[in-house]
């Protein structure tokens, strides 16, 4: 016993080093696997508060470009509204009873990130605004990611520019499915893999969300095909998708909540067991 204690006292620096190094490696490995509960994340009052204070100041510098983006979106939505063929003149008398499938909440990105291989964003809505994990996040031009952690006032979003992210998407024209991943190289290009060899892929085709998962609604635009090739086994296409979004200047985002999500998950879990 005496010798064990002596050994510990003699090597206490080395043991402390080993302990702390091991602890950091555990955190690292945890952060590389999607859907493990994460202990180290920026959705807490300290880091969220610091980023929020800083964002309050820095958001003034790009007001003009953000206004431009919002005006473009208004422009697009208005032209859809005014040019729609069937006149809609029925109004909901009691708007409380009306409940659609998706509930949309607007939020602001207070920490953007696109230069590392596992990018995580921070937004300023959390549990207090009934935002929970696995809600989808989109911008006016395309999809952005999925929420992974929520504190009272902040949430972290796994961006599509993250090597662990995996979102179901399809070719708009033919409807062939694939999953959207990122190889970590360019913040404008993501990869759509596992698309059947039979699919008629053409450069310039639009890629949209497939609606197969309960996170995103069907048909949200993602990007266009910039190049494609068969994978090593020559069974599936690997498609490079050029994003509509400019991932480097994102500020205003929309969080999408699927009201039937619980029902869908319960049903799927029930069938799997």
């Amino acid at each position: 016993m005496q010798q064990i204690i002596n050994f510990i006292i003699r090597n206490k620096t080395f043991l402390l080093f080993l302990l702390l190094f091991f602890l950091s490696i555990v955190f690292t490995i945890q952060s590389h696997s999607y859907h493990k509960s994460k202990f180290i994340n920026s959705a807490n009052f300290l880091t969220g508060g610091v980023y929020n204070t800083f964002n309050n100041i820095s958001s003034y510098f790009n007001l003009k470009s953000q206004n431009q983006i919002l005006a473009e979106e208004n422009n697009r939505l208005k032209s859809i509204l005014y040019n729609s063929e069937n006149e809609i003149d029925s109004t909901y008398i009691d708007s409380i009873t009306y409940q659609g499938l998706y509930k949309v909440t607007s939020a602001q990105v207070i920490k953007n990130s696109y230069s590392v291989t596992d990018n995580v964003l921070l937004i300023n809505k959390g549990v207090n605004d009934s935002i929970k994990e696995d809600f989808g996040v989109i911008t006016s031009k395309g999809i952005l990611g999925v929420i992974v952690n929520s504190s009272n006032n902040y949430s972290t979003v796994i961006s599509i520019l993250n090597t662990t992210s995996n979102i179901s998407a399809k070719l708009k024209k033919s409807g062939h499915y694939g999953s959207l991943t990122w190889d970590g190289n360019s913040p404008n290009i993501v990869q759509l893999v596992d698309v059947e060899k039979i699919a008629p892929v053409v450069e310039g085709d639009t890629i949209v969300t497939s609606g197969r998962s309960s996170i995103f609604p069907i048909g949200i635009k993602i990007g266009t095909v910039s190049s494609f090739e068969l994978d090593a086994a020559e069974n599936y296409y690997e498609i490079n998708v050029k994003l509509f979004n400019d991932m480097t200047n994102i500020e205003h985002v929309y969080i999408i909540k699927n009201n039937d999500k619980e029902e869908i998950t319960n049903l799927l879990n029930g069938t799997n067991e």
Binding site: I29, I40, T47, S115
Partner: protein
């Protein structure tokens, strides 16, 4: 003694704030960022309690990780260079370090640059290997290490030159 603690305490906080709010968003050429917070580890007094030093480095790295949602990569790199620092000190300063009377203000700039370069490159290699975490992308790891190291070394040398007190 109190002034030493307060100087290093303030340095700890200021470096974290600068790193998190400014340096993490530079993205020079798309992905090159300097990691100047390790100046805290570089400039920590030579005569110290090693356990405390390693623990402080861990805390520093973990705070940066907390802000940048990166798991434990900064913590791991910081703990490693904190543990390896005496060996690097001995290698770069030789006799001056052996006699235990060394101060960073009165050593030659060349020795200091060697010392900083070794620590920074070591830190960046561990950082980017853990960040990218895949052997098939080893080229990307070395590319990022090289460019970020150059950026960090330049910034760190500039900062130490600007803020060094003249020793007479």
């Amino acid at each position: 003694m109190n002034s030493i603690i307060s100087i290093h305490g303030i340095r700890f906080l200021v470096l974290i704030i600068i790193q998190v709010l400014i340096c993490n968003h530079i993205n020079f050429l798309g992905y090159v960022n300097p990691y100047i917070y390790i100046l805290f580890i570089i400039l920590f007094p030579v005569k110290n309690n090693r356990s405390l030093f390693i623990f402080l480095s861990f805390l520093l790295g973990l705070t940066i990780d907390l802000f940048s949602d990166s798991g434990g990569i900064h913590a791991a790199a910081c703990v490693f260079i904190a543990y390896a620092r005496p060996i690097i000190l001995k290698f770069s300063f030789g006799m001056a370090y052996e006699y235990q009377n060394m101060k960073f203000n009165n050593v030659s700039f060349g020795d200091k640059l060697t010392y900083m370069t070794i620590i920074i490159v070591l830190h960046h290699i561990i950082l980017f290997s853990l960040e990218i975490f895949s052997i098939s992308k080893i080229i990307l790891i070395f590319q990022k290490t090289l460019f970020s190291s150059i950026f960090t070394i330049i910034l760190c040398s500039l900062i130490t030159i600007i803020f060094s007190r003249e020793s007479k």
